[in-house]
Symmetry: C2
Subunit: 134 residues, 2 copies
């Protein structure tokens, strides 16, 4: 199977598959005589694993670790859980930041007349907010 078919089968782009190989996420595959990468069904499973982990926001470094654990029969699920919990904590941290942004943005937008005039609560807030944000 060539890289284009592997990409279609896994939901990744051919570009990214090469990138993952370059980054050490994937073992270099066999090559055809012409140098084309050859993928086996087992490789497709690995690619799908990577795609699903990316959808969940895991970094490539995290995924490298998860892949190694996945392929290690001696693994401990405790380690896997730690990785996931650490990532969840980061996601929750970003959620907090975005929620704070959202709240302030909504407040500012609600206070903006949008009547075509020059007076603007949004610009006022950015110039001198009621409560300074550090």
């Amino acid at each position: 199977m060539n890289i284009g078919q592997a990409a279609a089968a896994s939901g990744l782009s051919a570009k990214m598959i090469r990138h993952y190989e370059h980054n050490g996420l994937l073992q270099p595959t066999q090559r055809s005589e012409a140098g084309y990468r050859q993928y086996q069904p087992k490789d497709i499973e690995i690619l799908q694993f990577i795609r699903r982990a990316r959808v969940l926001g895991f970094s490539l470094a995290d995924i490298a670790g998860l892949l190694a654990l996945w392929q290690n029969p001696q693994r401990s699920n405790t380690v896997v859980k730690q990785v996931a919990q650490q990532h969840l904590a980061e996601v929750e941290q970003k959620l907090k930041e975005l929620q704070a942004m959202k709240q302030t943005l909504q407040l500012m937008i609600a206070q903006c007349a949008a009547d075509g005039g020059a007076h603007c609560a949004i610009l006022q807030h950015l110039a001198k907010p009621a409560a300074e944000v550090k």
Copy 2:
């Protein structure tokens, strides 16, 4: 006022102030004979404006626009509001994505025994999720 003092006064780093100037966010300042950038109190207000907008997640391109509007007495608050609403929509989109990640991560973590064994619901989910995520 030198760049270090301007950085301290505005809450930005000297590095970023230079970067903003390089990007066209800031007008090049006066320079001392030795070539040091010189900042006036008015410049500090602009730097603080930028910092507050960054805290709210506005891109540098957005901030360039907001700064131009701020300094234009002929501005229309309608335009400002549009910029803010567009950014809010992006923030809300990211919030949705992160919330979906959070939910799935919590589910996977809850199902993981973490008893030191090799069986792991998290890896199972990544290998073959119950409901495929495209």
